[in-house]
Symmetry: none
Subunit: 351 residues, 2 copies
Amino acid sequence: MIKTIIGKPDFIESLRGKRASFMLALSNTKTADIEGITQAGIRNMIYLTPTLDSEFLCTGEVRSLENIAQTPKGVPTPALITRAVHLLAPYGRIELLDLGLEIKPKLDYFTQHGFDITPSQSIVEGADIDAQEVFEKGVAFGQSYECQDEYIILAESVPSGTTTATATALGLGYKAEGMFSSSFKNSPDDIKEKTLKLALSNIDDKNDIFDTLSKVSDNMIIFNAGFLMGLNNRIKVILAGGTQMACVLLVMNRILKLMGGAMETSNLALCTTKWVAEDENSDIEALLKMLSFPINAYYADFDFSLSERPALKLYDEGEAKEGVGAGGALVYGFLNGVSKDKITKQVESQL
Amino acid sequence: MIKTIIGKPDFIESLRGKRASFMLALSNTKTADIEGITQAGIRNMIYLTPTLDSEFLCTGEVRSLENIAQTPKGVPTPALITRAVHLLAPYGRIELLDLGLEIKPKLDYFTQHGFDITPSQSIVEGADIDAQEVFEKGVAFGQSYECQDEYIILAESVPSGTTTATATALGLGYKAEGMFSSSFKNSPDDIKEKTLKLALSNIDDKNDIFDTLSKVSDNMIIFNAGFLMGLNNRIKVILAGGTQMACVLLVMNRILKLMGGAMETSNLALCTTKWVAEDENSDIEALLKMLSFPINAYYADFDFSLSERPALKLYDEGEAKEGVGAGGALVYGFLNGVSKDKITKQVESQL
């Protein structure tokens, strides 16, 4: 039920039965305001998606709006999947990383790590991120963070994050055209390509890594690259996400190269959904193969074939695909004895 | 599956997946010897109920008698529910508080905290509790207690405890008539009212709080009010019980007022059963609304609708309702991924 994309099953099998801290990295980039670039949320209120996702994941309620985020086509947020697993095989705790949110989640009792990071601008206008500062905040957090469970599942909710991830990888010089996925089944390639072209026009070869990240990336990618480097393999981490999380690794890879340093990555893996792993319009495996360090990557062999609900069937048709750590959550469920059937029923009961 | 009585779901959701120490406060009051006042046990051997409950909860066996405590009508003790959850989603440990037991539980290996507290007399004759001393023992225990899990579930087994709780609240001047529940479906109002009238005749306006408690309360209520104040919000606590546990809060509330002090209560909540929460003959919500501090309260949306067993169906008809922390145990089960169906089957298998 857990399939290997790259590496061997040993890493993920060694986590079977173990409790994880679920960490959700949240960020807004104004890139998401570009008409038609993302369907990760409610039109004109896309910026609310990470806020609503975290409220729903933690409490089962959305508080900053009446309804849970869903796409214009009615695809419900993958937070439904992540929450369903939590109800069936609870994470040890959920912690939120506020990496620049427009609206803070209305939650008591849940740890919300704040870093004084503001939402980033549209990459069309040069994002305006202090990338080195955001990166250093990630490093400091990784150096000091004490995990109260046996490992971390690190997930994200960043609307239009695949666009900023693509710009990041291309901006750093990776030959990554066509390798990044989209929340759309039929990716709005013209809007996305135009956006990328404009974004990349803001940088040139003279820009160093952090200049480039400042202009074309997002806070989640930059912070988490720092976070992982600060952790320095001290705690096992599952990057729960698709090509955006692969981009975190690409950034880390480039910074390691810059530093002329090597980092042990044996405690690091990526887990995503089947919808990303089998997506014909992207190639996460190719992205991971660009890394200079070894990495294990897996996907949860889960789809909605056991469901009759049209809103869920849209996932199997290629909409949404991943987000809020859905792939890592599914893997966690499987590692803790929860069946595909049970997850399906639980997700359905939440619709 | 967990419903909110007062407050927001955040507190209880933040405990999802976390391990709790289950603490069972045990006490005898001779009030239980009044013919017909309680059905929490075997006639003429009501005093054995907390002893048998704790033996069964810890080991699955009753040792101080051949059979598990059940009412004359054959309602099995709610310890069955609390034990069932322990088998499906184990508490981190079970610890017993001996707050004045006639017969000590025959148990090895389980921590039994002793405080040199003797069973109290009938409130008809003035209970004869050294309330200040019992309270201070609670405070000292709270100040020194180190929790080895992430939070405490604090439960009770005190036959005729709803009667002493009613007397306590009324004695302290709360307008709480008709708000306390009973282990009976049809509460023996005449016996209970006569008992309360006699009990309250032992006190007058000149009595201070501790004088009043000495005469009309029970050790569990007094000790736990001290225990919570000694903990002083340092550890998360779920009061697992119905109106008796609400009474603990009412006592604490009155003592805080006396001291002119405030106490942070953000780490304190109450969890009870659906049978108490929806009981038409009592009103736990109203009791909790008399408190001057905020409190979160929840109930487990659990009943025996999935069972055909007549002994269990009696719960759904209003008998027994709560005790041995059944409501908190059910919430704990739900927080740890156990379904209503599984709990039902487990309870049935123990009959």
